[in-house]
Amino acid sequence: MEIVLALAIGVLIASGVWLLFRPRTFQVIIGLSLIAYGVNLFIFSAGGLRSGAPPVVDPARTDPSLYADPLPQALVLTAIVINFAMTALFLVVLLASRGLTGTDHVDGQEPDQ
């Protein structure tokens, strides 16, 4: 399980970083989203990976070691919400830039050929 998760995080962040360095605004926003997904998975993994362990208190289980760490799950929820809002905001700026400059290059002008 650890290997799969580590590979997933690595692939997401590596693809995101590559896209972030591309010259088109759409590539940048997809890159930032991929990085955010990778980071969210990373936060989720911070409490330790366990299967079958609920984070929410169940009266039938009294032993605390049977529970997963709920804090990273709360953190990841916050991070997802914030990232969603920021992506939406960035999308608006991206459209404004496209409308004002007529190009989707990140510098607002095409590089000289």
Binding site: L20, T25, V28, L32, I35, A36, V39, F42, I43, A46, G47, G48, R50, S65, D69, L71, P72, L75, T78, A79, I82, A85, M86, L89, F90, V93, L94, A96, S97, G99, L100, T101, V106, D107, G108
Partner: protein, 532 residues
């Protein structure tokens, strides 16, 4: 009384947040202005009440949200450093808000709401005692700053804003990675609890913790504009509208504040070798930032670039002095940070007037992108409700303000810029800090570069231009700049009080165990790692 005053700690966050929520719903401009000015005035009075309280107390005031015990829930911590930063933000914001009433708050529909949200985020970032909560408040202030950097619209602003947002989103991801690594190792996000647990980490855990701190440090240094992470700063700041740029002068200081807070808590005297790794990096980064800003200042061809690079100089100086070490020098650096933030803020506002005097309002308010109420009250020719006062002595006042700003930014006597730089140099030399003489030489060089850049541009703009027109300047714009400059004069004349305060602050920062014991009153049991 005591029950009420205990809640004052959270008021600097709640007051602007509530006011921003109300301002969004108000249609009439007069009401909007009245509400946000009232909130701002309240915040200013509040922040100085808290500052005086913090100056007289030798402990931190801890506010437990929901009254949950400290390591399990978020706490707000008001100590000398955070009280100083909150008061500095409020002073700068008051002047900026007054300045913006003349023109800029009408250029876009949501100026007041964004401005108040920015303050809520700033105050939250200064007051929080929890790492993840720090991230949340960073995002609040960044979201508001994205709106403010685009305020007024236009292609240059949208282009600079696009870069600014992309850089900061990437930095936020780094911030989250750093926080997660630290949580995974220590099992806590409460800064005081972290400070207590760091010395108990051993071997592998310590190495991973250092990695987490390093990633977190990169995120903070991006915000602080340290070289080589600060290339986004001068273009963004010079493209932003005057009030937004003036407020951004304190946003780099949030990064500096976070670094001061984290190093004093995590890398304190008990932490061993972590401090030995962090300090040379801060010193090198700070020195390179100053060097970069010197080159930038000498190459700058417009006032707004000079102001942008001055922001870098002040961040770089504080970082370098922190890295070099020494309590007296750090006390001088805190004084310098307050003085230079106010001076750069005043200068950003003054640039607007200087450009108006030269007949160039660059960059202008752009055509509306969205079907909304964007407009420039000076350009659409419509008579405004408030009659613009044409001050006959406008040029003289602008020139006077410019000379004061130049003295402050270059660090020449008699104003507070000189005192701040002198205190840093004196501290460095007396305490024989690392590379003290080199740093003193570099600080002198940066003064010289600022002076050369400002003299060249100032002579060209004020004395050499033949077709200078008398600009339309409103009284509030002068009042705002005069207020900021007056604050710098007060810093000069009452420098002794300020130094007593900053000396106490540095002394307090060195006693991280007192911070820990005020947040966690009862001795915490031996720390356990997270379940693995």
């Amino acid at each position: 009384m005591s029950a009420l005053s205990a809640h004052l700690v959270i008021a600097p966050i709640v007051l602007p947040l509530a006011a921003a929520a109300l301002v969004v719903m108000i249609e009439q401009r007069a009401l909007r202005v009245a509400l946000s000015c009232a909130a701002m005035l309240g915040l200013l009075l509040l922040s100085f009440t808290l500052l005086i309280g913090a100056a007289n107390a030798d402990t931190a005031l801890v506010y437990r949200l929901g009254d949950w015990p400290a390591p399990f829930a978020i706490v707000l911590v008001l100590d000398r450093l955070s009280a100083m930063m909150v008061a500095l933000a409020a002073t700068l914001a008051m002047a900026t808000l007054i300045f913006s009433l003349a023109r800029w708050d009408q250029a876009g529909p949501r100026f007041h709401a964004l401005f108040l949200l920015l303050l809520a985020g700033l105050n939250g970032a200064f007051l929080t005692g929890d790492l993840f909560n720090l991230f949340v408040f960073f995002e609040v202030l960044l979201a508001a700053s994205y709106g403010l950097v685009l305020h007024g619209s236009g292609a240059p602003r949208v282009k600079a804003g696009l870069h600014y947002i992309a850089v900061n989103l990437a930095a936020s991801s780094l911030f989250l990675i750093g926080v997660t690594v630290i949580y995974g190792i220590t099992g806590t996000l409460n800064m005081a609890d972290l400070a207590a647990r760091v010395p108990t980490l051993g071997g592998d855990q310590r190495a991973l913790f250092e990695v987490g701190c390093a990633v977190l440090g990169v995120a903070f240094l991006i915000k602080a504009g340290a070289w080589p992470l600060g290339f986004w700063l001068p273009p963004t700041y010079s493209a932003a509208s005057a009030p937004a740029a003036a407020m951004f002068a304190i946003m780099t200081k949030v990064g500096v504040y976070a670094i001061i807070r984290a190093t004093s808590l995590f890398f304190g005297p008990d932490a061993g070798q972590i401090g030995a790794i962090a300090n040379p990096i801060l010193l090198t980064g700070g020195v390179l930032t100053i060097a970069f800003s010197v080159i930038g200042l000498l190459a700058a061809r417009s006032f707004s670039r000079v102001a942008g690079f001055s922001v870098l100089t002040s961040s770089g100086a504080v970082l370098a002095v922190m890295g070099a070490g020494g309590q007296q020098a750090l006390s001088g650096a805190l004084y310098y940070m307050v003085s230079s933030t106010l001076a750069v803020g005043a200068f950003f506002l003054l640039i607007e007037l200087l450009n108006r005097a030269r007949g160039t309002t660059a960059p202008p308010i752009g055509a509306p992108v969205f079907d909304d109420e964007y407009r420039d009250p000076y350009e659409d020719g419509a008579p405004s409700e408030e009659v613009g006062v044409i001050i006959p002595a406008a040029i003289a006042l602008i020139s006077g303000g410019f000379i004061m700003c130049a003295l402050l930014l270059a660090g020449l006597p008699p104003l507070s810029g000189f005192i701040g730089k002198f205190a840093m140099m004196k501290g460095l030399l007396e305490e024989q800090a690392a590379f003290a003489w080199a740093l003193v030489a570099l600080l002198t060089l940066s003064s010289f570069a600022a002076l050369a850049a400002l003299l060249r541009l100032g002579v060209e703009a004020i004395w050499a231009s033949a077709e200078a027109t008398i600009p339309r300047v409103r009284g509030v714009e002068f009042a705002a700049i005069a207020g900021l400059l007056l604050a710098c004069v007060v810093l000069t004349t009452h420098g002794e009080w300020v130094f007593i305060f900053t000396d106490g602050t540095v002394d307090w920062l060195a006693r991280s165990q007192d911070y820990v014991s005020s947040v966690l009153p009862e001795a915490s049991p031996p720390p356990q790692g997270p379940p693995s």
